[in-house]
């Protein structure tokens, strides 16, 4: 039984790594399931011992990786409250928002040997839920694109603006129109609680998608 505090940065890094890996897979899967990009660019890969769809397009992959690379320090310090994958239609209005609410307990305690495989199982369940989410969502209009927003606690982003984590990959404060959605419908997808992280995934969907 080890009890670590948030100051133990190594463990914070481990959690951030796990979450960022998961978010990468989740974002690719959301793009596949919601048909944001044609399914031809996706190929089956394995994660958490189950098949998932990942894109092959190098620029798309690079974009997602850079995005998560910038988010990682926020997660390490537990500054990231929500990571949101927003699907935007042609008029730049959000159509769907996949919200990952993340919270980490201040005192991390590793209480069992099977902690990581337990976490893997929970993340597998998330992946499965994303795969079947199109049963509860309406179809999106064609020509959608996506963006990733991060909601942080306090003013953590001030640091991000000062120090560019990745060159030529700036983060900006999001426009109001990208953040707020008209008449959202809330559809919860999955919740997980574990010793190292608590996460909730829900979808906000615009009532009329045109």
């Amino acid at each position: 039984m080890t009890t670590l505090t948030r100051q133990d940065l190594n463990f914070g890094r481990v959690v951030a790594d796990i979450l960022c890996e998961f978010l990468e897979v989740a974002i690719h899967l959301i793009l596949y399931v919601r048909e944001v990009y044609p399914s031809g660019i996706f190929q089956k890969r394995k994660k958490y011992n189950v098949p998932v769809q990942m894109s092959c397009h190098p620029e798309l992959n690079q974009y997602i990786q850079d995005t998560l690379h910038c988010i990682k320090p926020l997660i390490e310090k537990n500054d990231a409250e929500k990571v949101v994958v927003v699907i935007i239609d042609k008029e730049h209005h959000p159509v769907e928002r996949f919200v990952f609410e993340i919270s980490q307990p201040p005192l991390l305690s590793i209480s069992s040997d099977t902690l990581l495989s337990h976490v893997e199982q929970l993340l597998r369940a998330f992946i499965l839920k994303i795969s079947v989410c199109d049963a509860v969502l309406n179809n999106n209009p064609p020509g959608c694109s996506f963006t990733v927003l991060v909601h942080t606690r306090d003013a953590a982003t001030r640091n991000m603006e000062k120090v560019q984590v990745i060159k030529d990959f700036p983060w900006i404060v999001a426009d109001e129109q990208e953040v707020y959605m008209q008449e959202p419908r809330l559809i919860p997808l999955k919740t997980m609680t574990s010793d190292i992280v608590k996460m909730q995934l829900y979808v906000e969907e615009r009532a009329q998608k045109a």
Partner: protein, 435 residues
């Protein structure tokens, strides 16, 4: 059987939005698999009559399939809308049953595997409790017998080929008896070898497995395919692959092929894989039973398979139609407009050039970024097998040139990508033109 199960299934499908496969249902409700299949069928029937909710179903179809004059036994999971079409292509249908029921229209078969993965993992020690496949000869070896086998194995064979991990000792042993190759069972293992083809279009849950015919025992090609597979499953006896895999007690003894055609239907191959993978994680729990897969990761399995091929050089040819590795299948595939096949079976000499699938990204004439997966010659030796093998699992092998019919379906649905024949994804990349 009382009607309560209808409500149960209804709750799972509609309220929880789960994918209900028959295997998951049988493990959850504690009923025999055949009962679970019937339950799903009745539920589907019931709901369709009421025409209330919109449900989708997938079916498992197995039977004889004739392709280019060659008869094979094929087992596939197909979506409902592709069912009639698929049935018409088979020459003889041995069994059809409901595989899963869900609300969402599945674009590919990945989630089906995920559903069973956790269910089987939780019941690892007795996941065949409700199964219809049985083999009296399949019992776990006692630790004494295990010891003897290991000693026998490691003693006389000190060549570099035996760089495999300790668990391979069993498989090497199995390779000898398995030299009487195709018995249909062994052919059954080529299921694992056949690529899991994913339709590039949405909605592919059809997986094909080619089973070498029981009759054509003499075919060298299937022999080549099946032998590594036999070794792969190693001690798994000559039963349906999933049974073997699931039955952790399946010991070293290889059963006769007649057991292959038992009354129960063959399970989908990915279930075999699914059951296999959980073993990896549970290996620390099972110290007694010797399993080849125990200490295997997917990569190691690939390596082993390739290494085992060393023993059976003659059937391998570079034009084999079938992908050898199930792990590769897991990761494979969007079929290209002109589907190619991965042929790189490393020839088992000490140092040779072989074709390795490599991915090259470049900008073509139109200014589009093209990622091409091509075969490039690579010199390698046996000891380097690990590295290329792991590369293989990470790459996306070109789709198999499997029965043209399936390909045609996929092709027709993949409208956008038909223009560019040169590479798999060039036309798709047209969407992302760099101007």
């Amino acid at each position: 059987m009382d009607e309560l199960y209808l409500d149960n299934i209804d709750e799972f499908v509609n309220d929880h939005n789960k994918i209900v496969t028959y295997k998951w249902l049988s493990l959850t409700l504690g009923v025999h698999v055949n009962t679970a299949k019937q339950m799903l069928y009745h539920y589907l029937d019931h709901k369709r009559k009421e025409s209330s909710a919109q449900l989708h179903a997938t079916y498992l179809v197995s039977g004889k399939f004739v392709h280019n004059g060659q008869t094979s036994y094929k087992v596939s999971v197909v979506r409902e809308d592709q069912l009639e079409d698929f049935k018409s292509k088979m020459s003889l249908i041995v069994s059809i049953h409901v595989y899963s029921v869900q609300k969402a229209l599945l674009k590919d078969s990945g989630p089906l595997y995920s559903v069973d993965y956790d269910a089987v993992k939780d019941n690892l020690k007795n996941c065949s409790r409700y199964s219809a496949i049985r083999c009296a000869n399949a019992v776990p070896m006692s630790s004494l017998e295990l010891q003897q086998v290991r000693e026998k194995q490691w003693g006389p064979t000190p060549e570099p080929e035996n760089q495999k991990s300790a668990t391979n000792g069993d498989t090497s042993q199995m390779s000898k008896p398995s030299s009487k190759p195709q018995k249909g069972i062994m052919g059954m293992f080529t299921n694992k070898a056949t690529p899991k083809n994913q339709d590039s279009s949405k909605g592919v849950t059809s997986e094909q497995k080619e089973d070498t015919p029981v009759v054509d025992a003499a075919k060298s090609k299937p022999a080549g395919k099946s032998n590594p597979m036999i070794n792969f499953f190693g001690s798994q006896t000559a039963k349906k692959p999933d049974k073997k895999v699931k039955e952790e007690e399946a010991a070293q003894s290889s059963s006769a092929s007649e057991q292959r055609h038992q009354s129960s239907q063959p399970e989908a191959k990915h279930e075999a894989v699914a059951a296999e993978l959980p073993k990896d994680t549970k290996r620390d729990c099972r110290s007694k039973t010797k399993r080849i897969k125990d200490s295997d990761s997917e990569e190691e399995k690939v390596e082993k398979k390739k290494m085992r091929r060393i023993k059976k050089p003659e059937p391998d040819s570079s034009d084999e139609d079938v992908l050898p590795d199930s792990p590769q299948q897991m990761e494979t595939r969007e079929p290209s407009p002109s589907p190619k096949k991965e042929q790189s079976h490393p020839e088992m000499k000490t140092r040779k050039r072989r074709q390795v699938l490599k991915s090259r990204t470049f900008v073509d004439d139109e200014g589009c970024i093209v990622t091409e997966k091509v075969y490039e010659s690579e010199s390698y030796s046996e000891t380097e097998d690990d590295v290329p093998a792991s590369k293989h699992t990470a790459k996306d092998p070109n789709p198999a040139k499997l029965p043209a019919s399936n390909r045609e379906d996929k092709k027709s649905q993949k409208k956008a990508s038909n223009t560019n024949k040169g590479s798999k994804q060039a036309s798709i990349m047209g969407f992302f033109q760099k101007k």
